[in-house]
Subunit: 461 residues, 2 copies
């Protein structure tokens, strides 16, 4: 067998112990919060039937789905007709019937439809699994990455939306973030705006243009709106909406005036108000709420998909795109034939959150789950003395290892250092005689003599 | 978009909350034990370059690797020559350059070689990830399943082998199993046996035949040995080895007599003895050791791979194949050009362990991590009263949810039932007036009146 110089597949990453520790810190924090709010974990398979996935992500998305080659003599089923064309797109369905998960939403919809008779609705689930996309890899963009989704289907209550605001808030605080903004909008407000202008068909053009306010300013937005089919008169109506300012209450009050004639638009405003009322009922301080949650009617992510509230979360501590988002969708499972099941959910961008915590140095020190103690192996005698210590410490749940050979002390110490093992136990002749072991704190360099019972107490916390 | 009646890809499974809870119980138990012994977690990508995987699992294995179709116009690189042949095998390397992980061993070897300059050796890692095989699905055999591997590379000390015996022992006990056998053999003993017969080249034939003793008896084994090129005289030498009986000490004593002239064979015996000595040094009772660990020279798994000790674990409580196995390999990373790195490791068969625990009803009751309390939603008033209770309980880390609408009581109760939420809190007019909430234990049906502070105390443990 020829020796292959190994490399990673393009756009993929290994996770070493220190990275695993950090990623697990994020996942465990999120899980704990999700569970506190009554969400349960599910997992779906890494690959689905190709037919389950195609057509759900648009043409561009379809191209980015990783297809799995059929096993065995996969060409035997290819018709001569198709073969003679040698067309990559046409050949796919004949040689591939499975594909890697592209997101967690479509598999979740498939799951709900297939298990509908076993599920207790409202069904509250979270799911933390990798997804795969054949994107061009670049800094911060990988072909394998994790999504963390939390959704409830089968409930129209806005209490759910309010709890997602709290989930974001509690989770981001628990991760160590201090300054972030949870933006909220409602699809019905956007519909209302397009209605009062009398151009409901231009809703997408309108939101795409408005969404650029931060980047291109009011003039730029106006220019784009004109290009996209709006008139100067429309711009007059839109201006107070685009330039909406003040507190959330002030913004909603202004919107009410503008949208008074649109039933849909007023409904959107009422929904946001109800979400705020629910959040307040959780005894959230009004000022804190005002600081953290922001009505932003330029927010339009996934417009073709969301039907009610829309969320997006940004950190204000680091320049970074959104670290989460979501919203309400009225017809998630319709694609698989189950109608009228309303759902709402949000997701956390684990990779970006990882980068933010790294940049702000917010990962707790001991996320690396290595041993807490390394016992130095001096010779056969100290080894024999140390093995029962391993037993005694592990019995107390303390992670400990004995260096497996009597290598040079320097080598053993740098092993502890590299693995970031916080304590080293030295058991030499003197220690064996007295029973007082030498414990070295690897960070401070301090040494102290301890009996086993004291050592156990010290290590337990 | 046409509506597709959804189905799972063949050989794959969804994991619903109750299954996730059980599987996480297994994984978390294993992780805790691995970490106590100084092992750290890593993860490798789901797909690798095809060249990393091919040729590592034999011809049959290569066929079972799931290949991923190249993205974009993947046929544009196919030569006319290959195209004209329409040969499934020859076409693969031209249209696929990535493949799904087939096991955790080869990616681990790739990982060690690529990260060799950053790793502290001995490198102790565990890895719990799914693998994929294009096997024919059948009962208990899936195309996507988890492997749980724990290995150390860069240390020849038999202390590692001894600790794997303890890891198996501690982990299986922690999972609730009581009666299991950790079988141990050593490749060098098998080599020694083939040597004393003078037929080292027939070692594989010999072990394949001996391995069938349980199934076909001594006569069957003898017949097969004769067919595979052994003589009647060889059978005479082999008989006491095949029929080895008694305690581990007695078996090793018998083997020493038979293998006295084989240096290799004696080395294998000495290694097993040293492993036993190490295990005893951990203050393991001799009788317990004798009951749990069994020298079994018919054990030959992965013979082309293992070079020293070989392990296999069986439960004696349920009829089931092995639930774990492993051994020492002297040249894991050689396939990627890094020579002379000795390693030893074991794996746990998570799917089989799951089935065993299910059959023996050993899963702890509360592996399903749903809410601990459902608050019944009677009407807007009780909802408003209940929301601050949610805050108060969650602040104490208690998982709680409020039914999101004032649905019929029966519906809310069966929701709690289906989600196996152990307690339901009823907050009606009387409760709101008195502040004494009605707590119902869903298992016993018992109801009691509690103040919030008492409820928190009750739910905390």
């Amino acid at each position: 067998m020829a020796i292959v110089k190994p490399s990673l597949a393009k756009g993929t990453r290994d996770f070493s112990p220190s990275e695993m520790g950090k990623r697990n810190f994020i996942f465990n924090t999120l899980k704990r919060v999700f569970q506190k709010y009554g969400y349960s974990e599910i997992q779906t398979p890494s690959f689905e039937n190709l037919s389950t996935l195609t057509g759900k992500y648009g043409d561009e998305g379809d191209k980015l789905i990783f297809k799995i080659l059929n096993s065995g003599d996969y060409l035997s089923k290819v018709s001569e007709q198709v073969w003679s064309e040698k067309n990559s797109v046409k050949l796919i369905p004949q040689i591939s019937e499975k594909a890697l998960r592209y997101d967690l939403t479509v598999p979740f919809a498939r799951y709900v439809v297939m298990h509908q008779n076993d599920l207790a609705f409202p069904f509250k689930r979270f799911q933390i699994q990798p997804v795969w996309r054949a994107d061009r890899p670049q800094r911060g963009r990988y072909r394998e990455f994790y999504q963390c989704d939390v959704d409830v289907v089968g409930s129209e209550s806005l209490l759910n939306e309010a709890e997602f605001v709290l989930i974001y808030w509690e989770a981001l605080l628990a991760l160590g973030l201090k300054d972030f903004t949870i933006k909220i909008n409602n699809r019905k407000i956007l519909t209302g705006i397009a209605e009062i202008i009398g151009k409901p068909e231009l809703i997408v053009d309108m939101t795409v243009a408005i969404d650029k306010l931060d980047k291109i300013g009011l003039e730029g937005v106006n220019k784009e709106l004109l290009e996209r089919g709006f008139t100067m008169a429309d711009l007059e109506v839109l201006r107070p909406i685009i330039l909406l300012e003040g507190s959330n209450d002030e913004k909603l009050a202004s919107l009410k005036k503008v949208l008074a004639s649109s039933e849909k638009g007023m409904q959107g405003i009422a929904e946001i108000e109800e979400v705020f009322n629910y959040v307040s009922a959780f005894k959230v301080d009004e000022k804190v709420l005002e600081r953290i949650v922001e009505v932003d009617i330029t927010l339009a992510r996934g417009l073709n998909y969301y039907t009610g509230c829309i969320f997006e979360v940004k950190t204000n501590e680091v320049a970074m795109g959104s670290i989460g988002g979501g919203g309400r969708y009225d017809d998630l499972t319709g694609m698989f034939g189950l109608k009228d099941l309303s759902g709402v959910g949000v997701s956390f961008g684990a990779d970006r959150i990882y980068d933010v915590l790294e940049e702000l140095d917010l990962f707790p020190k001991l996320t690396v789950t290595s041993s807490k103690i390394l016992i130095v192996n001096f010779d056969k005698e100290s080894e024999a003395f140390s093995i029962p210590l391993l037993s005694a410490l592990r019995k107390e749940g303390i992670a400990v290892e004995l260096y497996p050979t009597a290598a040079k002390l320097k080598k053993q110490m740098s092993y502890a250092d590299a693995k970031r093992i916080p304590f080293v136990l030295l058991v030499g002749t003197e220690e064996m005689e007295s029973g007082e072991l030498t414990l070295k704190n690897m960070e401070s360099g301090e040494q102290m003599k301890v009996k086993l019972s004291v050592l156990i107490e010290l290590m337990r916390d």
